[in-house]
Point group: C2
Chain length 202, copies 2
DNA sequence: ACCGAGAAACGACACGACGCGTTTCCATTG
DNA sequence: CAATGGAAACGCGTCGTGTCGTTTCTCGGT
């Protein structure tokens, strides 16, 4: 329960889990329908069958609600596969990300608007980087370091650069309206190109 | 004067150029100070020394103002160099983009918020893709096709994939708060990696 | 194991402030 | 003269907060 914006208060004791779920679900539903921007806290409250006050009690802003909703929604698919075949693992993981996070309008539209909000709300930016992206980047880095140790990519490869080259095109397409997102074949082309530039000297 | 959202009106006859400039400048200044989201049309009008009515006469929304402002600001640096050395040309062009568009908070913050708005305003999305990004992507594609003809990259290389791999990391860093943007050396590393995966069979 | 007191969360509703996009009225300008 | 630009105000909606009465959970006493 990472309450990113409640530094002073002790962990709360009573909290309606059903209200929490209803609020998070309602926020993503409304983002999917209208986009993040037009969604209001009042609308979230109305759809969740909840009072505005209840939302403001637990979250400081609409952005914090959506961030937690995204984190909940994305968690199940967080695990990075490790079959030994780096190329296939990347295709599987990135494919899951594309389907679950980016091509699904429910989550995609919410993410875009949330990212925009982070650029004038530093606490939200920290939440996005630390809570949402951080753990997933760490997962990917671990997997890449293991592949490097196994000699599947060159020993001086920078895992963070690799991550950037792999994942940046996904967000580029999502955010800048560059066509539909990669299907499995397109994804394979992307992964192959990036891995090729990190191939060990044979 | 690409008035992206005024399909019915004929081209206007009298228009105060000084007001136009003041409005566009004010919009970018305010975006730099507070971020795109909190900026209001009223604030733009006040700072530009102009009435709200004047803004709404020529632009349909805040987003349209910022889009035109960005297009004006970015135009001077639009030209793609062509020295014959693809690698150096890319470093120069992308370096200019990074400095002029991304690391400059004035333009960077405005762009982020504008992108968010495009996701619930289809006309704005078309303006962004067609007017702002389109011409620049076309420039890059031309330059890459020329390099392909010259045998500097493999003959089956997809220029659009190449563009995506090159530019996506820039926006990835800008939008997702991934550290400071590439300096010249980092840029060279990025370009080298991408070009390596498109090297012609030697 | 039961129960009752107190605290906290909850829903409903109302508030003042502010930005929205528009309109009216008038002065300015080509 | 006709279109433009400036000043001010409109009704509307959302913001974040406040109040009030009710419900729900926690916990200590018998």
């Amino acid at each position: 329960m990472p309450d990113q914006n409640a530094p002073a208060q002790p962990p709360h004791r009573r909290r309606s889990e059903s209200s929490r779920r209803a609020i998070l679900d309602a926020s993503l539903d409304l983002c999917a329908q209208h986009g993040y921007g037009p969604v209001t806290v009042e609308a979230i409250a109305a759809r969740a069958g909840v009072s505005k006050k209840t939302i403001y009690r637990w979250w400081p802003s609409k952005g914090a609600v959506v961030l937690e909703a995204l984190n909940d929604a994305a968690n199940p698919a967080a695990d990075f596969p490790d079959s030994g075949d780096l190329r296939e693992d990347l295709v599987v993981q990135m494919g899951g990300l594309v389907r679950g996070l980016l091509s699904d309008r429910r989550v995609g539209r919410a993410l875009v608007g949330l990212i925009a909000d982070t650029h004038h709300d530093p606490r939200l930016a920290h939440g996005l980087v630390d809570d949402l992206f951080g753990p997933r980047v760490d997962d990917a880095r671990r997997r890449l370091l293991k592949a490097r140790d196994a000699g599947q990519i060159r020993s001086d490869a920078d895992p963070d650069l690799l991550i950037e080259l792999l994942y940046a095109p996904l967000y580029y397409r999502l955010l800048l309206h560059q066509g539909t997102l990669q299907d499995a074949d397109e994804l394979r082309v992307l992964v192959d190109h990036v891995l090729r530039s990190f191939a060990p000297p044979s």
